[in-house]
Symmetry: none
Subunit: 195 residues, 4 copies
DNA sequence: GATGAATGAGGGTTCATTCAT
DNA sequence: TATGAATGAACCCTCATTCAT
């Protein structure tokens, strides 16, 4: 209850200001809690950051479920891309991911958390790719784990474009789908007009 | 002279701690300069950050020149990928890019700087892609600008992986080349064993 | 409680050094409080200055009450003069008034506070003068408000003499009383030996 | 030459900001001189302040000359009052006097300078008063030195009113003349409508 | 005589964190 | 559990002053 309330406030502040610039005072205010109370749930600002990051990373796995449920790789990809890169409710979370990666590059503890989540994500997406290799939609000689990593990386990179407000993203999102599909496709596809 | 000296010190500190956590005291110490002296060259810490970012972004254009000079798209790509993602001297700069993007997502002034640099980079890389479309190495119906954006995004995303120390990056870097080449290739290529 | 404690410390420091030369560190030390704590009561050094000034100005009104209670204008004047210009406990506050006026000449917000307090003071003293005009002690054709302003100004000016330690002030204080009385008297008084 | 130039710049800055808030950088800029150059003429900011104060105080003596030249005490008084309190070119200097007095209350060295100038001023004005006592315009039993001190003090106090922008000063200035004249007059004067 | 470059010392302010209640 | 009050340590920045040229 209180914990979630605080995490929600923290998320809002971290998005707006970044981990370092957001103060515990701001966070408690946003959460409607006293500063001292915050410290009863999280012994340190760093713990709060870490808890938030863990929460975020876990939710990434849900996306793989979506691709899985979609029936075709391409269709699942399209749905995910839409959600992650074009849904305003999620792009905010995406931007926070930049902060997380930046932080991970300096804080080994956070790097470990991110790495572990990445392992899970790559494993799940890799398994899915293998399935689509078996169904013939994806080329069989492609290394599934690497493909998974590259797809995730491309998403991350596109989120980076949101950060500086790059225009025409909608169009680019569609192009990204085709890009991935063509890179993995079992058979030569005519490039579609999106690209 | 002094300016460069300070920028060098700032770069080292920002890499190590991030823009917000690096103090002007640390930066001046690292640069071998007094704090007050730093302020004679940069009126504000933000100005220092901005100057550094501008410097970094400009240097990205050099990479396009490399791809251009390589003769074949694939070969140019391989050289660039090696340099950006595997050369220890450059990956550090790469990590700073995450910080830059995170900052851009909050600071419109910095977002503008990044956006402008991105425009230049995409234009240069796009022009190169058009050239390889004409030479038959890249599929003619692909939108060159979008392809450029996707390539840059993939690089950015892979840099994100460096942030949390993802293993086997060398292998992944090679896979990335193939991924891009296959996505853009004019003719169906047999996926190579890298992927 | 703490607020008063801080204001007391501030008053001492401001007297000793002036508004600008007194540091928040000194003030907190004098008040026996941490610097950070000071900032929980006054969001800014300027707020602290303003609060102190308001406090001081309000207390000036008490003096008018004294003149009122004295029964005769001359006697009331003598008591007030003694208090303001010769009582060591008050001359310190008086010196602070110079700082306040100097500050008011540059800071419109403080000027407004001083002006308002002056309006009150002049109104109160003016009303008293009217009373003594009716009782015949003060000449009836004198403009009471202007007279009030001039009396207050003379006090201010005499305080200025304290600032540079002008000698023989005791004697001068007595002379001031006669000066005022003679300027306002209804009938020609023989100048007394004080002047 | 240079010295005067610097003093002029300093005067402007001190007026605008006060002694402590005006920086040597600002002063040199205002004077069109480099900071280092300033230090060749004044070894310390305090020396600069002191020099300026001395310059200002000396000029006060000129005013006594005016009263002297006017022929009648009242007429001389009126001219002086006009000049000091109503001439925009001089009120600025007047405001600086508040700063000087405030500074004198803390800095004994400056207090000494002010005291000495005051002695001269009081002596000159006192001598003049004696002359008008002899001519019958001023009551013979009044202590001339004290009267001089009180007149100067009243001026100082009225300058204080300028600091907070008190309204209707023109009218008050006239009332001040009458106030002084009545306080010193040899014979009962009907209070004039100014008061 | 004149200046650009340099700096130690400090100034106001904020922050993460603690603790008594 | 919840909080208001408190603080040491830093942070960004500015200032008066010096010195090599």
């Amino acid at each position: 209850m209180r914990r979630e309330q605080i995490l929600r406030g923290a998320r809002a502040c971290f998005r707006r200001k970044g981990f370092h610039a957001a103060s515990t005072a701001e966070i408690s205010a946003e959460a409607g809690v006293s500063v001292a109370n915050l410290y009863q749930y999280f012994p340190t600002k760093d713990h709060l950051i870490k808890a938030l990051i863990e929460e975020d990373l876990t939710s990434d796995l849900d996306l793989v479920g979506m691709v899985e449920a979609a029936g075709s790789f391409r269709r699942g990809l399209e749905m995910t891309t839409q959600l992650v890169l074009a849904d305003p409710a999620m792009t905010d979370d995406g931007l926070l991911r930049l902060e997380v990666l930046a932080e991970a590059s300096r804080n080994p503890e956070i790097a470990a958390v991110v790495r572990e989540a990445d392992d899970h994500l790559v494993a799940a997406l890799g398994a899915l790719i293998v399935r689509y290799q078996n169904s013939g939609e994806i080329h069989p000689e492609i290394n599934a784990a690497d493909a998974a990593r590259l797809i995730v990386s491309l998403y991350d990179g596109l989120i980076g474009r949101l950060a500086f407000g790059a225009a025409a993203e909608t169009e680019l999102v569609a192009a990204a789908d085709s890009f991935i599909v063509r890179a993995l496709a079992a058979v030569r596809a005519v490039p579609d007009p999106d690209m």
